[in-house]
Symmetry: C2
Subunit: 125 residues, 2 copies
C-alpha cells in the first residue's frame, strides 16, 4: 500500500555504470526503491567537461537544473544555454542531451510520468 514517503537528496546514494562514463545519478522517487507509481524523479550529475549524449525515449520528461551551467543539445545541432533554475520540457521521443560547459558539476533533476527510471528505454541518437 502506498503511503507518503519523505527522503532527503543527501541520503540517496549515487549510481555509476561503466557504459555511462563519468556520469552519476541517484533515484529520489522510484518504484524500485519504494511503493510508488505514475511519477518518478532523480538527479543526474554531469561532471565538468562531460556530456550526456543526444538520446530520446518514449515518455516526456522535465529537467530542472539544480547547479552549474551547460548546453541543452537538440536535434540538428541546435543548442540552448541552461543554468541553475532553468526548466526544460522535453516532448515524447524528442532528442535531447546535456553538455557541461561550466566549471562546476552540472546537476539536473529529472522527472518522468513513469513508475521508475528502469522502464525508460534510452535510444542513442
Amino acid at each position: 500500500m502506498e503511503t507518503i514517503v519523505t527522503r532527503h537528496v543527501n541520503d540517496c546514494s549515487w549510481n555509476q555504470r561503466e557504459d555511462r562514463g563519468d556520469l552519476r545519478w541517484k533515484f529520489l522517487v522510484d518504484a524500485t526503491e519504494m511503493d510508488s507509481h505514475g511519477l518518478s524523479a532523480g538527479i543526474i550529475e554531469v561532471p565538468v567537461g562531460s556530456e550526456l549524449s543526444l538520446h530520446h525515449h518514449q515518455p516526456q520528461e522535465i529537467y530542472v537544473i539544480r547547479a552549474g551551467e551547460g548546453l541543452l543539445l537538440q536535434t540538428g545541432g541546435k543548442i540552448q544555454q541552461v543554468r541553475k533554475d532553468s526548466v526544460v520540457y522535453i516532448p515524447q521521443n524528442e532528442r535531447h542531451g546535456l553538455k557541461n560547459t561550466g566549471d562546476v558539476a552540472l546537476e539536473v533533476l529529472w522527472i518522468f510520468p513513469t513508475d521508475c527510471w528502469q522502464e525508460i528505454e534510452y535510444i542513442r541518437d
Copy 2:
C-alpha cells in the same frame, strides 16, 4: 506540435488569489502556457508562519523543497520535518499540507502527471 521548451524560474511570474491567502505560486511546465502534456510542474511559496492547509486530490504528486524549512502535514495530525532538498512522494488521494516553521519563505517544487495544474481538483480536509 510539441517542441522542447526551456524557461528560467526567474522569468515565470507569481500568481496569487484572494481565497489562497498569502500563498503565491508560479507555473513552470503547464499546458495552459505551452504545448505540453502528461507532466506539469510549478513552485509554491509558503511565507514565514503560513501554511498550505491539509488537502488531497486524485493524482499523485512529488514535492522537492527548494528553500526553507517546515512541516509536512498528514492525516491524523502526523507531521514530518522537511527542509531544502527534502523530496516527498504523495500517493493518490493522500492528505497532505505544508507549514512554514522557519524564518525564510518555504519554496516547494510540485510535479503532477497531468497536463496542467488547472485540472487538479483540490479537496480541503
